[in-house]
Symmetry: none
Subunit: 242 residues, 2 copies
DNA sequence: GACTTCTAGATGTATAGACGTCTATATTTT
DNA sequence: AAAATATAGACGTCTATACATCTAGAAGTC
C-alpha cells in the first residue's frame, strides 16, 4: 500500500501527521493499538524516518498518540471532555443545570485606569476605563461579586445599556468583540468586611478569589475582572494538559 | 567562548537547553533580547545545528523563548508571553523560577479504595489503592498537603521507592505511565484543625482546595488527589477557551 | 521622497546514515 | 521450574548537508 502524497505546498511531515490522524479518526487504528514503527511508515510513505518522526511527535504532543521507548507507538484512549476546558457563560450554564441565576449592578462609573488595570488591559496610564460592580445570585443567594474593568474606548456607550440579568459578554458582541479566551489567576483569600457584607457571610470566611483577563477573538484584551466567590457555594473545574 | 559540555549520560540537546535556560534565569539573556542563531550556537557548543534546534524547540514549548521565521529567536517576557497555564510539575517549575522546593512523605499505606476514590479511579469497589500523604515546602515553609490515591495494581512496588523530594509523576514513568492531563475541581475552604496544624496556620484560615484527577498519555486514570494549599502562599493560573 | 527589488541572515523542511538505549521475548543455564 | 542471558525490534540521539521560505533592511529606481 505505497501511498504517494501529492498535494503541493504542504510539508511532508504535515501530510503524514494528517494521514495518521485520519486513520485514527476513521477507526482504522483504534485506541490501544500499536501503529507501524517509524521505519515502516517511512518506507510506506517513501520519506525519511526523521520526517515521519516529526509528524508523530506532534500527534503525541496533542495527546492522540503515546509511545514507550523500545516498545512502540500507540493510539491513546479518548478522554471524556466534560466541558472542562471550556469557558462558560454564567447564565447559560446555570440554565443548563436548571439553576435560577440573576444579577444586579451595584455601581457603574468611568474613571482613569489604576496602574495595574492599565497594565493588564494594555492601556496607557490614565486612559479611561468603565468600572462595573455586579452581584450575582444563585437561587436568590448572593454568591459572587465582580469588579470588572473595560477600556472605555472600545465600549463608549455601554453605560447606557441594560446590564441587569444580562451577561457582559453578550453586550460586548454588539460592539464586535467576541469573547474567546480567559486567563484566570486563582487564590483562596479571607473575605474583607466589605465583601463579606455583600455576600452575607462572616468577614474572614474563605473566598475563591479570581483575577480574570478576557481576550476577544482578535486578541484584544476586553476585560479585567476581580471576582470574589463565596467559598462554600462556588467551585470551578478545569482541565490542564502538559 | 567555546563551551565543552562534559557531563556524561545526559543528551547534548538537554545540556544545551539547560545552558540556555541558565543564561536566561541569570539574566545574561534578558526578555525581548535575540539569542544567537542556531548556527552560531552550534559552532559555540560544537554540535550540529539540529541538536541545538531540538533544545531550543523545547524551551519554546515551555514558553521561555519564542521565534519568528526568518528573523530569530527571542527571550519571552515573564507573565506575558510566558505560558504558565499548562500542567506543571511542582519541582520543575520551582526550579525554573529559582525557588527552593522540597517534600516529605507523612504517610503511605495500602488499603481498599473508599467508594468515591474507586469511582474516580475507575476501580472495582474495594480494589486496593496506595494512599500517600505528602507535605510540600517552598523555601522551608509548608504550603501544601496532598492526599494521593493510586491504583495498587498499576504501581505494585511504589511503596519501596524513595518518594521524598521526588515528584510522584517521575516515579510513575518508571512504570510506563506518563502524566498528560489533569482535571481539577477548585474551591476555597476553611482549614480543618488537622490541615491547619500541618501547614502552620490557624484553623479556619482560607485553603485553596483541589480535587485532582490525573490521566496518563494512554488515557488511564493514574491518580486522584485531594490538595490543600495555603491560601496566602499559593495561586493557580489557568487558561480557558470558548 | 516613495516605491520596488535585491540580498543577507535566520528559521523551516527534508534526507541518509550511524550508533545508543530500552523493552519484551526467546533462549539458555542452573 | 526458575533465573540469568542474549537478541531483535523500536524508539532516542546526533551528525552533516542541502535547499526552501521568510523577514528586515540595504540598494537601486522612478
Amino acid at each position: 500500500m505505497d501511498k504517494i502524497l501529492t498535494t503541493e505546498g504542504v510539508p511532508l511531515y504535515v501530510k503524514i501527521r494528517e494521514a495518521l490522524r485520519a486513520e485514527i479518526l476513521h477507526g482504522n487504528l483504534h485506541p490501544g493499538q500499536k501503529i507501524p514503527s517509524e521505519e515502516e511508515l517511512a518506507q510506506q510513505y517513501r520519506v525519511s524516518r526523521m520526517t515521519v518522526r516529526q509528524g508523530i511527535l506532534e500527534l503525541i504532543k496533542e495527546g492522540l498518540l503515546h509511545r514507550k521507548h523500545g516498545v512502540g507507538t500507540f493510539v491513546s484512549y479518548p478522554h471524556f471532555d466534560r466541558d472542562h476546558t471550556h469557558l462558560t457563560n454564567f447564565f447559560e450554564s446555570a440554565r443548563e443545570q436548571g439553576i435560577e441565576a440573576s444579577s444586579t449592578v451595584l455601581k457603574i462609573e468611568i474613571s482613569p485606569a489604576p496602574e495595574k488595570i492599565a497594565q493588564q488591559l494594555l492601556l496607557k496610564p490614565g486612559e479611561s476605563v468603565i468600572c462595573i460592580r455586579t452581584l450575582r445570585f444563585v437561587n436568590q443567594t448572593p454568591v459572587t461579586v465582580h469588579d470588572s474593568y473595560l477600556p472605555h474606548r472600545l465600549f463608549p456607550e455601554i453605560i447606557h445599556e441594560k446590564l441587569e440579568n444580562v451577561h457582559l459578554w453578550d453586550v460586548m458582541e454588539k460592539y464586535g468583540y467576541r469573547v474567546k479566551r480567559a486567563i484566570q489567576k486563582l487564590e483562596a483569600r479571607p473575605a474583607s468586611s466589605e465583601i463579606a457584607k455583600l455576600l452575607d457571610i462572616k468577614p474572614g470566611a474563605p473566598i475563591l478569589y479570581k483575577e480574570r483577563k478576557i481576550l476577544a477573538t482578535d486578541g484584544t484584551v476586553v476585560e479585567f475582572t476581580y471576582c470574589y466567590n463565596r467559598g462554600d457555594m462556588y467551585s470551578l473545574t478545569v482541565a490542564m494538559e502538559r
